[in-house]
């Protein structure tokens, strides 16, 4: 099977996918209510898409292709309201956050669809342990080579996206000490990590052809990379973010990536180098473990600073681009996160106050559902 040709899309268009947790209102544990929710939302008009995911305690909401923050936040809010209303009607709470704090993987049920059953058979318990909730952001690119360029340039800033969205400190009833423990589950998949360092699409096609020849992969879907090209959409897809605790933060992070992409495409104009990846896993680990306080090493200057400082610096550099994209409000929200902390610190504060993870989960759901 060969790779499909790279579709063209409007540059810097954005699309957001959010995986959401479905919870029982009795104990705020995950509840296998995806079929009930999906059956019900089918009957309601809504923008974007609402889809099943691997296990029955999660659903995914997708926006349509958007150009800027205003349209994105409007559509995400509409999607949030549709699923929240449906949830209330069915006594199911819905929440953001990258992990459920106390679910047990063995209790999850696989959604009844051929692809999910296939994955479940292949990966065994990993599939159920994959009951984690991420935000994926698509950025439109004019062509495939531009997409690969953007992908490798954005890789340097993967720690930013992780630290800003991090909202999964608790796993299986305990504080892991990580800001984003969710990514630890992703890393256990054999094809996770980063894309190979190729800058031209024909080279990438050759790489894919060789991989497909070994029969390790069948389609791009089998790569669980942090950022991967999505040829059928003509986009690159940033996949490292936890689902944030609110749609507002999700939209702000998407627009931060969008503004940064514009900066890379229009202003920065430097070529990616293979050596940029020398510090990649170190930086990414720092972001997962310590969030905004993590250490960030610049691959070119070898300078060390905190991820928070690096984001502050980036915000200054991209502010003109954000203005062009009408994303000033989104940048304000990013600044708020730098001051008030990310989702992980919100959750830790809530736990320090409530002493009970079910209560934390309830607050998390109330925050996400609004009203």
């Amino acid at each position: 099977m060969s790779l499909m040709p790279f579709a063209s899309s409007r540059p810097l268009s954005i699309g957001v996918e959010l995986e959401l947790q479905l919870l029982s209102c009795n104990d705020y544990n995950l509840s296998s209510s995806a079929p009930d929710i999906l059956r019900r939302v089918e009957k309601r008009a809504h923008p974007g898409e609402i889809k099943p995911e691997m296990t029955r305690s999660m659903i995914e909401i997708n926006t349509s292709v958007q150009q800027e923050y205003g349209g994105l936040i409007k559509e995400l809010s509409a999607l949030r309201d549709v699923v929240s209303d449906t949830g209330r009607f069915l006594n199911v709470a819905i929440a953001g956050g990258g992990t459920h704090p106390f679910q047990h993987w063995s209790e999850q049920k696989i959604f009844d669809a051929p692809r999910f059953h296939h994955l479940s058979e292949l990966y065994g318990y990993l599939a159920k342990q994959f009951t984690i909730f991420g935000q994926h952001v698509h950025i439109g690119c004019t062509g495939p080579d531009e997409a690969l360029h953007l992908m490798h340039m954005l890789s340097r800033y993967v720690p930013h996206f992780i630290a800003l969205s991090a909202s999964s400190p608790f796993v299986q009833g305990h504080d892991t000490g990580f800001a984003s423990a969710r990514l630890n589950s992703v890393f256990s998949f054999p094809l996770s990590g980063r894309a190979p360092f190729v800058l031209r699409w024909d080279e990438f096609e050759r790489f894919f052809g060789k991989m497909a020849g070994t029969r390790v992969v069948e389609s791009m879907k089998d790569f669980y990379w942090d950022i991967r090209p999505k040829p059928e959409f003509g986009t690159i897809e940033v996949r490292v973010c936890d689902t944030p605790l609110t749609v507002e933060i999700a939209a702000a992070i998407a627009c931060y990536i969008q503004a940064m992409s514009r900066y890379i495409m229009v202003e920065q104009r430097i070529e990616p180098e293979e050596d940029d990846y020398l510090v990649y896993t170190f930086n990414r680990f720092q972001a997962c473990r310590f969030g905004l306080e993590g250490v960030f090493i610049d691959p070119r200057t070898h300078e060390q600073r905190s991820i928070r400082e690096d984001i502050t610096d980036m915000l200054a550099r991209i502010s003109d681009h954000a203005q062009e994209l009408h994303a000033v409000e989104a940048m304000e929200r990013i600044r708020d996160i730098l001051i008030a902390g990310n989702g992980a610190s919100w959750l830790r504060h809530a736990y320090a106050r409530e002493h009970n993870l079910a209560d934390v989960m309830q607050l998390q759901a109330e925050l996400w559902m609004g009203k």
Binding site: S24, S31, F89, L90, N91
Partner: protein, 402 residues
């Protein structure tokens, strides 16, 4: 010094409690066999053994006075009712009024068809009304126990618990009125016809609110220590049950309403161990055995046809009512069928209501009461199996394989 000073006399004089202890052991073992080999719910074993060894069956264990059992049954039922109430989210009815509509339709349909059936069998209207109110109730004991045992969760489970809590309340409340009307028939003055139900309802509601407020207070101070809190709660349930009985209120209503009130008032959820700990669980097992011991199939002799018809029309009424509003309330056909069937079990609540009516009107006990008792025995044995199957076919029990 003689032999008899330190050796037991012959034949041995054993207290009935010894046989009951032995019954507990046997019933629990039989329950395990049922689970392992036949995949049947354990409580079928508990009730079945009680029925088999009790006066209604082989009569192997001597009759224990009903009053001694009554305390165990009341306590265990109190635990289960409070547990049910505290798991039910009344706010859901506001977000989805179709569930309230389903519940009202299901209860009124049950009342109407059973009343009509009994009239057709020439039962006096007032007696028919009493029976028809009793059979509105689904067994909270069987529902809570089976849900706990199968670790089910989902739409059908949540709705089953909510609708059970609601139809038990209807049954208890309207039963009081029906019984009061029965007294009216026998020539009591109007004031004594109207006052008893009002006293019972008002008093029970007051006691339930007091329970709820105390619960909140205690939980505020002790809630962080789950085990200690469970002990206190257990004592409170026992106190409320006995207090309700002493004041001639309805323990059923008090504990159910107390559970509902505490769940409604508190802002955070709380999970407790099943039946609030192992002491509660033992009482629950004893209650099912006691229900079996109290089982009486005398109704078969009275009118087997009526017993079977009553069970059938009641089941059809509940099933059709749930199916009628399934789409509006947001569940599919399979879920609605499962929910309708899972509402069938009858056990402690109707049993206690029947026994109370029979105490007040001995003629009822030797007539229609027997029919009701037989229905209860059948639906007590079949109920847990039906509920378990309903939860299984809707995929609400955990997957066995990884």
């Amino acid at each position: 010094m003689t032999w008899s000073a330190y050796l037991p006399g012959w034949p041995l004089e054993v207290s009935p409690a010894l046989w009951l202890a032995l019954t507990l052991v046997v019933a629990v073992l039989v329950g395990e066999v049922l689970v392992r080999h036949l995949k049947l719910p354990r409580i079928v074993g508990y009730i079945g053994i009680g029925l088999l060894l009790g006066p209604g069956g082989l009569a192997l264990i001597p009759q224990v006075p009903a009053t001694e059992w009554r305390l165990v049954v009341d306590l265990a039922l109190g635990i289960l009712l409070f547990e049910l109430g505290s798991k039910v989210n009344l706010r859901w009815l506001k977000a989805n009024p179709w569930i309230a509509a389903t519940s009202l339709l299901e209860a009124s349909a049950t009342f109407v068809v059973v009343f009509w059936l009994l009239k057709w069998f020439d039962v006096p209207a007032i007696t028919a009304a009493v029976v028809a109110t009793i059979v509105i109730a689904t067994s909270p004991a069987i529902v809570v126990r089976t849900v706990t045992e199968s670790r089910a969760q989902g739409q059908v489970t949540d709705r089953l618990m909510l609708m059970t809590a609601l139809n038990c309340s209807y049954a208890v409340i309207f039963h009081k009125f029906a019984v009061a009307a029965m007294y009216g028939e026998t020539g009591a003055s109007l004031i004594h016809t109207v006052m008893p139900p009002l006293y019972v309802l008002g008093g029970s509601a007051l006691l339930a609110v007091l329970f709820g407020v105390t619960f909140e207070r205690l939980h505020h101070h002790l809630g962080h220590h789950e085990e200690t809190f469970s002990f206190v709660l257990f004592g409170m349930i026992a106190f409320a049950t006995i207090m309700a009985a002493t004041l001639k209120l309805s323990p059923i209503l008090v504990l159910l309403a107390a559970g509902l009130i505490t769940r409604y008032r508190r802002k955070r959820t709380h999970t407790f161990p099943p039946h609030f700990g192992s002491a509660g669980a033992v009482l629950v097992v004893l209650m099912f055995i006691a229900n079996g011991l109290a089982g009486d199939l005398g109704g078969f002799g009275y009118s087997l046809l009526l017993v079977l018809l009553l069970i059938t029309v009641r089941a059809i009424a509940k099933l059709l009512a749930v199916l009628a509003l399934a789409n509006q309330s947001g569940i599919g056909l399979r879920q609605a069928t499962a929910l309708g069937l899972a509402l069938i079990p009858m056990s402690s609540v109707p049993l206690l209501l029947t026994m109370d009516t029979a105490t007040a009107f001995p003629a009822f006990g030797s007539g229609l009461g027997l029919v009701l008792m037989s229905c209860i025995v059948i639906l007590e044995l079949a109920g847990p199996i039906v509920v378990q199957m309903a939860l299984k076919i809707t995929g609400e029990t955990p997957d066995k394989k990884i």
